[in-house]
Amino acid sequence: MASILHPASPSQSRPGRFGVYGGRYVPETLVYALDELEREYEAAKADAAFHAELNALLHDYAGRPTPLYLSKRLTEQLGGAKIYLKREDLLHTGAHKINNALGQGLLARRMGKKRVIAETGAGQHGVATATVCALLGLDCVIYMGDVDMERQALNVQRMRLLGAEVRGVSSGSKTLKDAISEAMRDWVTNVRTTYYLLGSALGAHPYPTMVRDFQRVIGRELKEQILAKEGRLPAAIIACVGGGSNSIGAFYEFIPDRAVRLIGVEAGGRGTALGEHAARFQGGAPGVLQGTYSYVLQDEDGQIALTHSVSAGLDYASIGPEHAMLHDSGRAEYVSCDDATALDAVVKLARTEGILPALESAHAVAEALRIAPALIPHDILVVNLSGRGDKDMGILARELKL
């Protein structure tokens, strides 16, 4: 089927394309800013001093490398695969989001931008951005949907304490998608002075590539650690997929290792009807949302669908374009996990290992719980535990009647 967005052959693919996906679909006003960002990012990538400063901050400030923890009791109880957890939840601010926020924060400073804006869903990216802005002395405005502000209230308070201004967004579904739209409206207005610190591997080129690169450290460490501990690669790596930054970060180093299954877990929400979930690969179709061509949950008229997930961070109608490519090529598999199963996984991990995962990460844990028993002890499963669940205590207390 011909599509305007499909280059005639992959060889014609331009930078910023992942197979046929990705690209740059934005108002003209932003193109110059994206070009400028791309140039600066390429320059920073080639600059040893930039890497040295980022690596020092990742190590001394954020707490890298994060441990690869053998989840012994869980492994024993499930009686199948050997389960490891990549502990991104132990990072400063509580999730993998700090990896990208530090990288882009240094880039903003390098570009001389004094004002930083960002969107946030669960609040983890907002907290990471507010943290980095405090560290680097930058002004910070965070856009967050009203629904998310209510369900992740703790993170709203954290951002304010860190000196950020949190602006509620009351349009549309009042969640992550609408926060991104509002951040883009701010950016298009203040583009000359403002850096947009996008939090996931989404949006117009160069964001999906840049965010993935800042998150690649997860997979790089993970590969070294598993080889050191086990002398072989895992059978599978499992990660939750909202926009897809923790998952692409965990997957990327393993893409050439064809024997390693890459499993992305989307939010199955509370049902399979459009509007009841955020599983883009089960009900979505290729389209353009917020700057990029990828799978999008939409109706037959191309209007973007509402989504639902108990986890604010997975509650988004589109998905990073690199995941769309990995999906179509079959290199990664994508499954979904519903709200109730994710909640069960929170309880299971908390009571078996004493680890409270974020609701987002619990979707990945749930998939490990599901597939581990049918595997053998030689099979290693690694779950990327992208964040910790402290932020979710309000929801957990209500849902689990604590």
């Binding site: 011909a2 305007i4 679909y25 003209e28 006003t29 583009v191 353009v288 191309g302």
Partner: protein, 260 residues
């Protein structure tokens, strides 16, 4: 049907199709054309209009709430074309509804309805290969936005790929009314003129006769959007066509005075 600006300055009127109803949009478009609009831009409502300010966001929500679809907008364009053959007609949309409709089918249907041009807010020249090919095949004019932040080499490319007119954005930002025009607009129009003999229309924030007169001094046409959409929002449905006609006539007065 070529897009022509019979007046100086020309007037492009943006309407969110389906707000408050398709019938109302049709009547308002007739009234706007009779009051002197050279071109009607029919805005396709979209769920996530990230380039639009609150006024057009609200209008889009209202239009979507009662099920306005792209094919309805194409149908509406056909009705307007039949009854007012002399006015320019442009479909103004975000990309995704057009993609979902099917680009080739959209180009065919829009051309068959008598539409002159298409402006997709989130389509830029670098991504537009097949988009341009389909519009050209159907005989539709691609209209691109040019921004104050667009460097000269981009303006050159925008000018080269545009037909009908080039739409110059008066300032960085989203759609919406503003108290005054910025100096960005004049500089941008001058830069665009270096690359094209096409008419240049200036839009974003144009909301009164003074703005239109200012635009008239530097460009070929003014685009008025949010100010009219807001007027429609405030009017009773049956009074909206008259209110819009009076507003448009009011926009022209100083221009006429200027010409003397």
């Amino acid at each position: 049907m070529p897009i022509r600006f019979a007046h100086q300055p020309g007037l492009v009127v943006y309407l969110t199709a389906g707000d408050p109803s398709l019938d109302a949009t049709r009547e308002i478009a007739f009234a706007a054309i009779d009051a002197g609009a050279d071109v009607i831009e029919l805005g396709v409502p979209f769920s996530d209009p990230l380039a639009d300010g609150p006024i057009i966001q609200r209008a889009s929500e209202r239009a979507l709430a009662h099920g306005t679809r792209l094919r309805d907008v194409v149908g509406l364009a056909g009705e307007i074309r039949t009854v007012r053959p002399g006015a320019g007609l442009v479909i103004f949309s975000y990309l995704n509804p057009i993609l979902r409709y099917g680009l080739g089918r959209f180009a065919d249907d829009a051309a068959a309805a008598g539409v002159d041009g298409v402006l997709a807010t989130d389509m830029i020249v670098e991504e537009a290969g097949e988009y341009l090919a389909e519009l050209e095949r159907a005989g539709l004019a691609p209209i691109f936005l040019a921004a104050p932040t667009s460097p000269d080499e981009r303006l050159k490319s925008i000018a080269a790929h545009s037909k009908g007119f080039v739409y110059a954005i008066s300032r960085t930002g989203i759609t919406g009314t503003r108290a005054s025009l910025t100096t960005d607009a004049a500089a941008l129009v001058k830069r665009i003129r270096r690359w094209t003999k096409l008419p240049v229309a200036v839009g974003f924030g144009i909301s009164n006769a003074e703005h239109v007169a200012q635009v008239g001094e530097l460009a070929d046409a003014a685009v008025v959007g949010s100010a009219i959409v807001e007027l429609i929002e405030r009017s009773q449905p049956d009074e909206a066509p008259g209110a819009v006609a009076r507003f448009i006539k009011g926009l022209r007065l100083p221009a006429a005075a200027l010409a003397r």
